[in-house]
């Protein structure tokens, strides 16, 4: 049985190279699996505040929340746009280059 729950994750682009990053338990990660799952409005609000602080600290730009489906062994963004951001281009010369 697959246990799935809807959560959110805070994502942004890293200032130095523009790469996609996610807020984790400790700082920012390029690995969505390591992202901090935000399962209630309070957690999301805290994460957004950390995002604003990371912008001020010049770590990331344009943070925002995305919806994800979290299962036991994986986290997957709900929207295709975010799945492509997480996994990299689906084809071509930089296929799968996400980080």
């Amino acid at each position: 049985m697959v246990i799935s729950s809807k959560s959110q994750v805070l994502t942004a682009n890293r200032l130095g190279d523009g790469r996609v990053v996610y807020l984790s338990g400790e700082g920012w990660t390029t690995d969505l699996e390591q992202a901090r799952l935000l399962s209630d409005p309070g957690a999301a609000e805290t994460a957004e505040q950390e995002g604003r602080e990371a912008v001020a600290a010049r770590l990331v730009v344009e943070p925002y929340l995305i919806d994800v489906a979290a299962e036991i062994d994986r986290v997957e963004p709900v929207r295709l746009r975010e799945r492509i951001r997480a996994e990299g281009p689906s084809t071509g010369n930089s296929r799968g280059y996400a980080a």
Partner: protein
Amino acid sequence: MTAPNMYRYDEFDHAFVRDRVAQFRDQVERRIAGDLTEEQFKPLRLMNGVYLQLHAYMLRIAIPYGTLSGRQMHKLAHIARVYDKDYGHFTTRQNLQFNWPKLEDLPDILEELAEVEMHAIQTSGNCIRNVTTDHFAGAAADEVDDPRPWAEIIRQWSSLHPEFSFLPRKFKVAVTGAARDRAAIRVHDIGLEVRRGPDGALGFRVYVGGGQGRTPMIAKEIRDFVPEHELLAYLEAIMRVYNRYGRRDNKYKARIKILVHERGIEQIRDEVEAEFTDLRGGVLDVPAEARERITAYFASPDYETLPAQSDKLEAAWQANPALGRWMAQNTHPHKQPGYVSVTVSLKPVSGVPGDAKSAQMDAVADLAERYSFDEIRVSHEQNLILPHVKKDDLPDVYAGLIAAGLEEPNAGLITDIISCPGLDYCALANARSIPIAQRLTERFADHDRQAEIGDLSLKISGCINACGHHHVGHIGILGVDRKGEEFYQITLGGAPGGENGGADAAIGEIVGKGFSTDEVVDAVETIVDTYLGLRDGADETFLTAYRRVGKQPFQDALYGN
């Protein structure tokens, strides 16, 4: 190797671009140090062609009217290799985009570009963008006159023009030098057709208010003839009217096409004529010596006197049918006997339209230096052009292209697809474009089948902004997001131009409800098979047949109406 006949920077140009690089280096340093916020930095980076896309920063480099030397192409290959992921993407605006540069590397990249007289200024923002032209400019047999000197004069006039650096919206100008429009001038904010006036003097037919995007419009003729020395005064008159009345309250209604549509071409013409009356005969008149000085940069190369036919080529292609097929499809008549222009297709089966690996850029640069007077063009169809190749040299050029994996014989055929980057890269896109293009090239890969279908343009955009020119594809595909799923709407009968200054231009009509990712390639095949079944002989192209029969037979085939 001959020096290329193209514009070369003078001392002012060099100093201006170097100053701009130094200024941007300082801005990047201040951004990284925290002295500039993203809100403050964003308009500064955009003025230097730096976007933030889905996965990384993107740098759009200006290739003025699509003209490159071998040295410049080698530099682009070098940048791809050292700073990016070993490839670049040529765009429908005859520019080049790198998808993966680091912010801290961008000043160094711009400095490298400045070494070869290139930059990324005005490739973004609400200003006059890179002026585009016919990719066969200066070479085509049917040309009235070379449009490149005028594209260069417009470039100089519009670069950092203080009055036109903060327009209501971006502004695009295209120039064709031939009556047969290969620059899609009717879907630009201003389209210019070089022509001769009643007394034989050179000048321009001027169109205004064309464009694609969410509100596609075919540009309307605003003046049938502007003498060449008065071109800048007339352009400035149009820009002033647009700057004064163009809407700034709604970015979706801010392009000049909306102004022309809402006020009518007659009122706009009257306003422009009033401005023109004030401006003509003043400082914007382009003196003959200035025109001659710029034109001299674009003098014809030192062609050999050759017979129109090449016995060497004749023997070579008869011994090698693949060469014959490529030559028939990927060469264009040249004004100089014994020469042709070569289209280097960037549309291999399963490839990404417009992408070139750095090794391929180097290979094309080498071929240009050896066989095409060191000249390369980028076409708005996302291919590369070797404009001046001796027919005798075509077998060697073809061999060089085979070695680089660039020998696809499909120029103008169904697999010569224009495609935007789509949702695989673009922050604005709603659906992917590239995978659809790849599957279509695989479905129609057979060369005999492509030849049977004949001239057919297929263009794909991943959102309504229409960077993939789907509105003017004979078959256009628009990706949309329908409740989180990618869907594809098909249009038929569009055309970017044609005879008589783009009189053939048309916006495609929506054929019916959209198709899923799984369905869309089959739908295109159904359209093509329907065309083959109803055409009035092999000489009737898809566009001609469509205009004869309308969309009903295609709707019947697609939807069983």
